[in-house]
Symmetry: C2
Subunit: 395 residues, 2 copies
DNA sequence: CGGCTTTGTCTTCTAAGAGGAGAAAGTTTG
DNA sequence: CAAACTTTCTCCTCTTAGAAGACAAAGCCG
């Protein structure tokens, strides 16, 4: 297995990240930014070309003098992002600059276990390869819907992933793909996606709240993922919002997830349909035979009062938890993402209303709370960013 | 004003911190730790001696060869820690190794405003000077009971400190003492104190929960204070624990502080005394004319059931909030400090019970929750640590 | 075409720091 | 007590990273 070359020093690392984040540059511009003498810069760039990470990209138009030599990341670099959700798998391939070249997905229940699920993921990679998008893979990032020991690359006691505990995800995939692999929690990777391409590019400390099948939170401190002592930081789905709430899968009562999540919305919509409180849901149930959070989004869009009330109520609960976390963490930005982004501004308005009322003015005075603009791509993009940061670092 | 010399490069910084944290060392031992050639090490140490930061301290006993030259931080280094609490001021002086040489305090209400309070603090410094403990002051750290713009060294919209908003604390004290000064939130400094001398020495990520007149939390990420976007991180006193709770000074209802804090305990003790529910408190009230949190501690020690119930109830509330924060932050250690440490193990048992029940097992599995062992000194010690880190850094 | 500007390459020079050779100052052993 | 061995410290040399400047190449404009 031929491992891709890695940069050899901190200068090469800086140059690679600059080319990744800001795109192709002339040698002169690079010198201005990294503050290296032109001679030293030339040495390092030549070395990167030799390693196959960087390539010349022709001459720029003259700006009144000699035309400058443009360099860019090698066009042959390929990174894979794999986002394993509770009910679906997304796989994307990007070039070195993290531009998405192809993106495929399929429904898949994570409960089917690591063997089945990872095989599906590899099939999706094969599909992309079949489209001619991949030659050699230089690295892959994988997100899984549960806590991860980042150092070891294995899930640890994941509640919704029976059979995955300590399964060597990194090792297996690294073997199969023949490249370096990193594994992290899917919500952390969504947060990294926002850091790379979303609204969080300028925020040093921010929170990404993902509301999907469950509820989780990615924490970014100083531009880097904060994972906590055992990799379970951001696990906010089971924070108590009310003593007398519904019983959660975790055994406690009143967990946020039991009040508001994809699963809880589907449950409540079904109840509303069966009890006859909502004609909208009753009709949907009859048509489809089942209800999901997507039906709730449609209900809100159609103005169904029961649906709107459900989302308002849920937004209030999320807002209560978020208000506490914002008091504690004082982030510079909060991004709401995940499947329920479709619930859109009704949800956002309710969350904002609670947070701005319940958190200290100093913490909320300059705090944007926004919906993610990345949609499905946040997870896979974050995965490629994670592995890119890794392979663009000196060993 | 003669500013103290600062180290000139990263090697000198490392050497100074090593001498501070590990005590005097021989030149050979230092070389082993910092991985410098003996020649380079000698150059840097000589430079530090020249700057007056380090001094020779004689010869060690032989270990089978030539006797080694011991070096230590200069005996003349003096750092001042000032901890301005809601109702008291503590001032301590330490040597370069942060050993406390003298510690004085006085009651003082922070509401009297910065002019009065800072004058009192300077008086306390004068008192220490009068004891012959101080020659030249090399730096001072100041903690105040509210949010601070750390970069500017000024309090920002502090709720319980009218008149302090944007008062130039750092500038004024730096002028008066003739040395570098840093200002921070008092809870952050307590956390730093624990990092330096307490149980948190080995924990990279931990929380210090201070329960005093109010409730606050110091957040340490990777061994460094996390302050958030606007310096208000850790402001957990106004997190909601119940919709139908007592009204808080902040205007909301059900804040943690309104349930459990020095002020809330005093209020509840008074109510218990007046209503005749507790003979213990009634008697104390008659003797002293007023009740404080200290009386509650005494009641618990004496086994008064009303007092015990108050603390249990309060511990439950603190535990609820803490359970959420631990789910979110996944710290490696939680230290409980502040005035209510006197409530001791009744409080701790209740907090632990709630947290271990309500937080995910992965986050609590390996999580010690302990009482601070530093008492009054945590704040002033953290203040000297803060300024020590600063003046022991290359500019 | 000649002067001016920008870019890239090559050579020279400096300073940081590693590493080794002793000198200095001990202890231990015969 | 002398010789052998250890540990510490100092001095000197050698390597290397990197800056700085000279110069060549390649464009613009009048």
């Amino acid at each position: 297995m031929r491992m891709t070359a890695r940069p050899e020093n901190v200068h090469q690392t800086r140059l690679l990240r600059l080319l990744r984040d800001e795109g192709a540059r002339s040698r002169a511009e690079l010198g201005d930014v990294v503050h290296l003498s032109r001679s030293k810069l030339a040495v390092e760039l030549d070395r990167l070309v030799e390693l196959g990470l960087v390539e010349p990209a022709g001459l720029a138009a003259s700006r009144g003098g000699r035309r400058s030599n443009i360099v860019r990341l090698s066009r042959h670099l390929r990174l894979i992002g794999i986002d394993i959700g509770a009910t679906s798998i997304d796989v994307a391939v990007t070039d070195g600059g993290l531009e998405i070249l192809g993106h495929v997905s399929m429904p898949c229940n994570v409960r089917e276990g690591p063997d089945v699920v990872l095989d599906h993921a590899l099939d999706l990679v094969g599909k992309l390869r079949g489209q001619g998008l991949i030659d050699e893979i230089h690295g892959a990032g994988i997100g899984v819907p549960g806590p991860v020991s980042f150092r070891e690359g294995v899930p640890v006691v994941p509640p919704i992933m029976p059979g995955w505990d300590r399964f060597p995800v990194r090792e297996v995939i690294s073997q199969k793909l023949g490249c370096p692999v990193l594994v992290d929690n899917d919500v952390n990777l969504m947060a990294l996606g926002e850091v790379h391409a979303g609204l969080a590019r300028s925020a040093e400390d921010f929170l990404l709240v993902k509301i999907g099948t469950g509820v989780g939170c990615g924490i970014v401190v100083d531009g880097r993922i904060y994972r906590g002592m055992s990799g379970s930081a951001g696990d906010i789905g089971h924070i108590r919002v009310d003593d007398n709430g519904p019983t959660c899968v975790c055994g406690n009562t009143g967990c946020l997830e039991a009040y508001f999540s994809g699963a809880a919305l589907a449950r409540d919509a079904l109840a509303a349909a069966r009890s006859g409180r909502s004609a909208f849901f009753a009709q949907r149930l009859e048509q489809a035979g089942a209800l999901t959070a997507l039906d709730v989004a449609d209900a809100v869009a159609a103005g169904d009062p029961v649906g709107v009330r459900m989302v308002r109520e849920g937004g209030r609960r999320v807002g209560q938890v978020l208000a506490g976390l914002i008091s504690f963490f004082n982030p510079g930005l909060v991004v709401i993402g995940g499947g329920v982004a479709g619930l859109g501004h009704v949800l956002l308005a309710e969350i904002r209303s609670v947070v701005y009322r319940r958190s200290p003015p100093l913490a909320t005075g300059n705090l944007p709370i926004v919906l993610s603009e990345l949609g499905d791509t946040a997870g896979v993009l974050g995965a490629t960013r994670l592995i890119s940061d890794h392979i663009f670092s000196a060993t």
